[in-house]
């Protein structure tokens, strides 16, 4: 039971990293980024390509891939996303959804749909004794790293001036602008950062999950549910809901396997009935 709950946290680590990126992008740009799953997929393929074509291993990929994808995000924001500001959110949906399909198809053309091989880093090949039980070292690493990253982002957002500006403009962009802060300066780096987080999750997934062009599309639906449960635009809520959903679906698999797929959405419906803005979302009109 405790082991399973811990196990759920590991699964939740991926949701948290992806949801965190989605939440900051949505908050700051007002864009629901449907291409987020595709960037997660590109992260995994990035790690695979670095190793397969250049002999660059996991540890370097952990840095290189998010940086490259972050830069790609910056370019993307400058070229395309930027043009959406002020338009109906539907345009954002169409643009990012189309982008996801294009990225997925390009990778499929090149590599086919069969999964690619990627070995676990040797250092993390064994198991760790966690007191109550043994657990694969790699998964402990995944959990630890994502906790550090999420914690780091949270500290940066709450303890630094830049963070406060970003947080303010994430959660209340109009009000922030009204205070004379130039929100637009932060839009591009925030978008790039969100994409980099998706890339990081992809690199982490490479050794433990099937690397194929469809991997992002399958996962992103759950991540959207996570963001909604946490509260749209709430950075803390997304991370908390990510880990929560991980644990819920792990326990769901344990006790009612047939229901586990729908459990996330049942939970989403229940949360929305109880708190329409999500667990940590602020109710509009109350502020």
């Amino acid at each position: 039971m405790i082991e399973q709950a811990f196990n759920g946290l590991v699964g939740g680590a991926f949701y948290a990293l992806l949801a965190l990126g989605l939440a900051v992008i949505f908050g700051m740009l007002g864009v629901v980024n449907f291409a987020h799953g595709a960037f997660y997929m590109l992260g995994a393929f990035g790690a695979f390509i670095l190793l397969d074509s250049f002999g660059i291993g996991f540890w370097a990929a952990l840095v290189i891939v998010p940086v490259l994808l972050g830069l790609a995000g910056v370019v993307l924001e400058r070229l395309l996303i930027r043009r959406l500001s002020g338009l109906d959110p539907l345009y954002g949906f169409l643009l990012t959804f189309g982008l996801a399909l294009i990225l997925q198809d390009l990778v499929r053309r090149q590599y086919g749909v069969q999964s690619q091989q990627y070995a676990r880093p040797e250092l993390l090949d064994g198991t760790l004794n966690l007191g109550l039980f043994d657990y694969p070292a790699y998964q402990v690493f995944v959990l630890a790293l994502s906790a550090v990253v999420c914690g780091g982002v949270w500290l940066a957002l709450t303890r630094t001036k830049i963070g406060m500006i970003v947080r303010a403009s994430t959660e209340k962009p109009e009000l922030t602008r009204a205070l004379g802060i130039d929100v637009s300066r932060w839009v591009t780096p925030v978008f790039g950062f969100g994409i980099a987080l998706a890339g990081l999750a992809g690199v982490l997934a490479a050794p433990m999950r099937a690397i194929n062009p469809l991997m992002g599309g399958d996962l992103i639906i759950v991540v959207f549910a996570v963001v909604v449960i946490g509260g749209l635009g709430s950075v803390f809520g997304s991370v908390a809901a990510g880990f929560l959903i991980g644990v819920v679906s792990a326990l769901g698999n344990l006790y009612v396997p047939a229901l586990s797929q729908t459990l996330v959405f049942i939970l989403m419906a229940a949360v929305l009935l109880w708190r329409p803005a999500g667990l940590f979302g602020r109710q509009e009109g109350l502020v």
Binding site: V113, Q114, Q117
Partner: protein, 412 residues
């Protein structure tokens, strides 16, 4: 006005019929629409695109070339066309594409159609249009069971054969207690049923079987649960396919279940899956294979030709597509026509050997192809001498033992 229209219609029809008959070297005007059209309907973009997909079309084209070379001027079907369509594994799309292929694109036979729900939809169209359908890609036994029909043939493999080969053998070898995880849709449920039956018949027990979401990238809960079941299972039987199988096996290795005394048995595996995971991740895993490219020199010779065209070694689905197209054309040749009823009659009960099927018979009672299949084991990487040579054949399961007896639920 009406009479004039009718005259034109009759004249046109007459002209068309005249135009079709007795082409150069033709078989006496018995081929409709001026030629034979073979349609490959399968997944060319989604999860089954690599294990069948476009390369199945290539395999069918190889069959057409070999048929032409064999019969030359005596070929009944002198004008043969191969066309294809993508159904993306969606039953509704498969249904409308099948209609289009039969009606507008004049397909005489539809081949392949992976994914059970899609195959059943196409079988219904074949029945309604009285056109032939030879299914290769789908595993469900419904095709030769309750949902069988006169124009549908099931070619290559099915869930019973997979369960009977792997489930029985692994249980008989001493692994009595099983934990089965299966994807929660038609194929997985069918596999779970057939495996459970085969295991119990061999004297084993299924300790527990769990449905898993489909698709699914995280199997850790089930893997953690396995060693804690009581009695502890000796085998984890996975009915997952494609990317889900890859996810599960990666995680199986990560949780080191083999060290905890739980072996892995895979319900359905394609050579492309072994290629994805690498042989070491699966070394020692037993599974049933309808056909293996390097099992004998004959298979290998065909696989070499296939590789020259595609750059890859063929999966069993590729070889079965070749065989089905060839047997269809041979039946047209014997019948002297491509009229469906006559071709069906030639296929029913036909016995043959070809590059895909040994000791094969198309069973007249339910249109299931019986043939010898292999029980295989994945080689460890150290024993792999060349790319794609991943399998060691443990034994051949004779055709009459590999497949189920006639069920009685099929009324042709």
């Amino acid at each position: 006005m009406k009479a004039k229209g009718l005259t034109i219609a009759v004249a046109t029809a007459g002209a068309l019929l005249a135009g079709c008959g007795g082409g150069p070297g033709g078989g006496g005007g018995k081929i409709s629409d001026g030629g034979v059209t073979l349609a490959v309907l399968n997944d060319q973009t989604a999860i089954y695109a690599d294990l069948s997909g476009k390369n199945s079309v290539t395999a069918v084209e190889m069959a057409v070339a070999d048929y032409k070379a064999k019969y030359g001027d005596k070929a009944v079907a002198d004008k043969i066309e191969v066309i294809s369509a993508d159904h993306q594994n969606k039953p509704d799309l498969a249904n409308s594409k099948a209609q289009e292929l039969y009606d507008r694109r004049r397909a005489d036979v539809i081949l392949d159609v992976p994914s059970s729900a899609a195959a059943l939809a196409v079988a219904n169209q074949a029945k309604a249009k009285k056109k032939i359908f030879m299914d290769i890609g789908a595993a469900t036994t419904e095709l030769e069971g309750r949902q069988c029909n006169k124009y549908t043939f099931h070619y290559g493999y099915n869930t019973y054969m997979l369960a009977n080969g792997t489930g029985s053998t692994v249980t008989a070898d001493g692994a009595k207690n099983w934990y089965i995880v299966y994807p929660d849709y038609a194929f997985g449920q069918d596999m779970n049923r057939n495996f459970t039956a085969a295991i119990q018949k061999a004297g084993g027990t299924v300790v527990r079987s769990d449905p898993t979401p489909f698709p699914n990238d995280n199997f850790s809960t089930f893997l953690l649960k396995a060693p804690n079941l009581s009695p502890k299972p000796q085998v984890l039987g996975t009915m997952q396919a494609g990317g889900d199988l890859v996810n599960l096996v990666k995680q199986y290795n990560e949780y080191k279940l083999q060290d905890k005394g739980i072996d892995l048995a895979v319900g359905l595996m394609f050579i492309t899956d072994i290629h994805s995971l690498g042989p070491d991740a699966l070394a020692g895993t037993k599974f049933t294979d309808p056909w293996y490219w390097n099992a004998n020199p004959q298979n290998r010779a065909w696989a070499d030709k296939f590789m020259a065209k595609t750059g890859k070694r063929p999966s069993f689905a590729h070889a079965a597509n070749y065989s089905a197209a060839m047997q269809y054309l041979e039946a047209v040749q014997r019948a002297g026509t491509d009229a469906s009823d006559a071709v069906v009659k030639e296929l029913e009960g036909h016995k043959f050997n070809d590059v895909f099927a040994d000791n094969a018979e198309i069973r007249a009672a339910d249109h299931l192809l019986l043939h010898d299949v292999e029980l295989a084991e994945v080689k460890p990487a150290a024993e792999v001498k060349e790319p794609w040579d991943y399998e060691k054949i443990l034994k051949t399961i004779p055709a009459n033992q590999a497949f189920q007896p006639v069920s009685g639920s099929c009324k042709l």
